[in-house]
Symmetry: C2
Subunit: 127 residues, 2 copies
């Protein structure tokens, strides 16, 4: 693995995705589940949990690059734009740096169409 290596994967956000995420984490913020409440907010309707997209990024890291056995040391996330039910989220992971101690810094980004929805950086221990 070296700087510049890159993986991407696409995820579909369905009603069931939000239900599964809420079942795991207990986050039932009405912004995600109550259409009437959400319609009154700046988003004009329900949005997905920000941390769901972070989970998608984690899935690319754990499944693809660096892959099985990777250990998460840290992650910075900026939530740039909303993700909605029905969206396809494309997550990109790019290796920025690998050090001699087996640690890597990864650029992590998620997009819906041409819109950057999450930007960030991960620090991992290589498998």
């Amino acid at each position: 693995m070296q700087a510049g290596d890159r993986a991407e994967r696409e995820f579909h956000v369905s009603e069931q995705t939000l239900e599964d995420f809420a079942a795991a984490c207990g986050d039932r913020n009405p912004l995600h589940f109550d259409e009437e409440f959400a319609a009154s907010t700046r988003f004009g309707g329900r949005i997905a949990h920000g941390m769901l997209t972070a989970g998608f990024i984690s899935a690319v890291i754990g499944n693809d690059l660096p892959g099985a056995g990777t250990v998460y040391l840290g992650q910075d996330l900026q939530f740039c734009a909303p993700v909605r039910v029905g969206d396809h989220v494309r997550c990109e992971v790019t290796v920025a740096e690998v050090d001699a101690r087996g640690r890597a810094t990864l650029e992590t980004r998620a997009w819906v169409g041409e819109t950057l929805v999450v930007d960030g950086t991960a620090r991992v221990l290589l498998p």
Copy 2:
């Protein structure tokens, strides 16, 4: 809401929690699901997804403090120690700063017993 306000909530991590999280995010890293594989790693057994604990933190923010309608702007996470199936994870959110534009900085920490498992900072837009 003002600096120093604080909320906490405890979450139980079961087999079903990991299954629900993986169903939502697609992260089936064998470190979380394959006991034999995980036994050969530095952890000596399976650990929960780091981003699951981040989801717990998100649940405290979205349910309790600041509560319903809070919008996530960003989150920094340091994964300090593993969480395992059967653990109870206590998440604490403390308001560090509120600005005149309705944005807040929150200190976000998660513990298993006396062990800090996740440390970090959230930036949110108040409801």
